[in-house]
């Protein structure tokens, strides 16, 4: 079943079919609630695509991602509810805000590597949460922001209605994926992947590490800001909990289940898990009794998630059909190079 689904995805027409499905979904859905859930899944998916840039492609585990999502939401919320801006200018401001803050956080945090980067961003995420919670003069603290403007409509389109909003989110999602696809195939995306494969090699290929890492980070936070702003426009009531670290953990789960560093992974992971969570609504926190071990099993046995695993499988299938050699070799290099000894 899964493989069938996947092989469909491989075909060029599949993307169009998927898009077509998304477009007719509101008409297939039993009710508005399902459309609403799908729209919220799409919002999260956009944020997960952002995480995919910095973590999947560029290899830096950013644990402040949920924080930037919240900054996007709050920028839009505060500008519309308190400063009286209308939706679209505030929306642009939210993108700018997350990009600028992402830039500053990036230039400090990206000097750190691996665990240090992860833990540093964990702290940044937590500081964002605390600031939102405590800086009452600005954020209203735990009371949250109410009366956030919905996207202003065009003519007859009213975005306070669920279905028009769904299409709005879908448009942003399609744009996000389209851009991600183009990015990942472009020289810029390849640059990010080269950085993930190793700092030293990337540098010796003439890649400016800092500039590219910061660019990837800013892109990812802007995606998070975009998702956050849409979220605020959808729910129209936000509180400090939006910056909770659990949201970051959720997004990592979506990313990992779908397939880290892949193009369809974030969408599959997010939409899949959001729906499973909804249908197992009663499980709620207990769902972690299933998801926790699932996450562990996944990283041990399927480190590349559904899509990654599938792509590998497809590739091998294609290879075995084609005449020619097929040899398997893993982690050899490190071992043999350790044996061919190092100079001081």
């Amino acid at each position: 079943m899964l493989f069938k689904l996947g092989s469909l995805l491989m075909k060029p027409g599949a993307k169009m079919a998927l898009l077509a499905f998304a477009i007719v979904f509101p008409f297939l859905a039993d009710n508005e609630y399902q459309v609403y859930v799908m729209a919220s899944a799409f919002v999260w998916a956009i944020a997960v695509y952002g995480l995919n840039i910095i973590t999947g492609y560029c290899g830096q585990l950013n644990l402040a991602h949920g924080g930037f999502f919240a900054i996007g939401a709050y920028t839009l919320g505060l500008l519309t509810a308190d400063a009286g801006w209308s939706f679209w200018p505030a929306f642009v401001a939210a993108l700018v805000m997350t990009a600028v803050l992402g830039f500053f956080v990036g230039i400090v945090s990206l000097r750190l590597k691996e665990h240090y980067f992860a833990i540093f961003t964990l702290c940044v995420g937590f500081i964002i949460y605390l600031l939102i919670d405590k800086w009452e003069e600005l954020t209203h603290g735990p009371i949250g922001v109410r009366d956030i403007a919905a996207p202003s409509g065009f003519g007859l389109v009213d975005f306070t209605e669920t279905t028009p909003f769904y299409y709005l989110v879908l448009a942003f999602l399609v744009f996000s994926i389209w851009f991600m696809g183009r990015l990942s195939r472009s020289l810029l995306g390849r640059t990010f992947i080269a950085i993930r494969n190793g700092d030293e090699l990337a540098q010796s290929l003439g890649i400016n590490l800092m500039r590219n890492k910061v660019l990837a980070f800013v892109l990812s936070t802007t995606y998070a800001g975009l998702a956050g702003a849409l979220y605020a426009g959808m729910v129209r009531f936000i509180g400090p909990e939006e910056a909770n670290i659990n949201h970051t953990f959720d997004m990592i789960t979506y990313l990992l289940v779908g397939g880290i560093g892949t193009l369809t992974g974030p969408l599959l992971g997010t939409v899949g898990i959001v729906w499973i969570t909804q249908s197992l609504q009663f499980l709620e926190e207990y769902r972690m009794i299933i998801f926790g071990p699932l996450l562990v099993i996944l990283v041990i046995f399927f480190p590349r998630g559904i899509t990654g695993q599938f792509l590998t499988w497809m590739h091998h299938k294609a290879q075995s059909l084609a005449p020619g050699k097929k040899r398997r070799e893993s982690k050899v290099q490190t071992a043999s190079a350790r044996e061919a000894e190092n100079n001081a």
Binding site: C123, V124, L131, E285, M288, F291, P293, L295, V296, I300
Partner: protein
């Protein structure tokens, strides 16, 4: 003036707890290079185990603490065997995600059995000592003394016994440890067990002046991470010193600056320090 000393006591109390938690974290990191995000969950399980032993089995506080330490040690070993050991050759991002998986799982399990209500762990040490206006509840003194004793005991174990020394040896040179015939698996399990014991004891010491609930580990573990980065990841003295720094910063910052922002102090301090010194305060090697 008394209030000033009161904050010293408070700083010591907090520092002791943070130090104990950070110590377990730093040991695991030193040996296995895993930033164990699930450590906070072990801390939380430790508190619940003590609660369970005292409330449901009716045993004495000390017995409950010992029982809790044993259970959490076993749990920690299981984490190592079932999760981290199979992942030892994976890219570093996978360890972290698996640790998050364990964290979510343990919290959910605890919540399933005990729900998410606040629970109260009562200790037999409810008295209050009053030194001319300086008030020290017995439990707080117990925390400080307990942490001190535990750190000394750990030091003695690591420095004076051959078994303990294998942990230090492993941390300093993995290959060297293999060459003298140290069994890596044994050391890994032992390290996890010790970190579990430290977390459980810290939780059991602290719970009587606090509440027991599934999310109780979140803030503590985040601060423990701050501490081990400050102290240099893998450094034992660094963990203790870092614990005290954060403990005092919170106590004094909370009192003289603002309680609302006291939690930011720890994280702000870290961000500030790492911006200037990416390798931490006490670390020798750059990272």
């Amino acid at each position: 003036m008394n209030l000033f000393f009161q904050q010293i006591i408070n700083g010591l109390t907090l520092g002791s707890i943070y130090g104990l938690v950070a110590l377990g974290l730093t040991l695991v990191y030193g040996i296995l290079h895993i930033p164990n995000f699930a450590h906070g969950a072990l801390y939380m399980v430790g508190a619940f185990m003590s609660y369970f032993f005292m409330t449901d089995l009716g045993v004495h506080y000390w017995v409950a603490m010992a029982g809790s330490a044993a259970v959490v040690a076993v749990l920690a070993i299981l984490c190592e065997r079932l999760v981290f050991h199979p992942l030892r050759n994976s890219p570093p991002i996978h360890d972290k995600i698996a640790a998050i998986g364990i964290l979510l799982f343990l919290e959910a399990v605890v919540q399933m059995f005990w729900g998410s209500d606040f629970r109260r762990l009562s200790s037999p040490f409810t008295g209050i000592m009053n030194f001319d206006g300086l008030i020290i509840p017995e439990q707080r003194l117990l925390i400080i003394v307990g942490a001190f004793v535990l750190v000394i005991a750990l030091q003695l174990f690591l420095r004076k016994t051959m078994t303990g020394a294998t942990i230090i040896a492993m941390a300093q040179s993995r290959e060297g440890a293999f060459l003298v015939g140290i069994d890596a698996n044994r050391v890994a399990m032992m390290t996890f067990a010790i970190s579990g014991v430290l977390a459980a004891v810290a939780a059991s010491l602290y719970a009587p002046i606090n509440l027991v609930y599934p999310a109780m580990g979140h803030l503590v573990i985040m601060k423990a991470f701050v501490i081990i980065i400050l102290g240099g990841m893998g450094s034992i003295p660094g963990a203790i010193a870092g614990g005290m720094i954060i403990g005092f910063a919170e106590a004094f910052g909370g009192f003289y600056i603002s309680t609302a922002y006291k939690d930011i102090i720890a994280f702000g301090l870290l961000v500030l320090i790492l911006s200037v010194r990416p390798q931490g305060l006490f670390a020798k090697g750059a990272h």
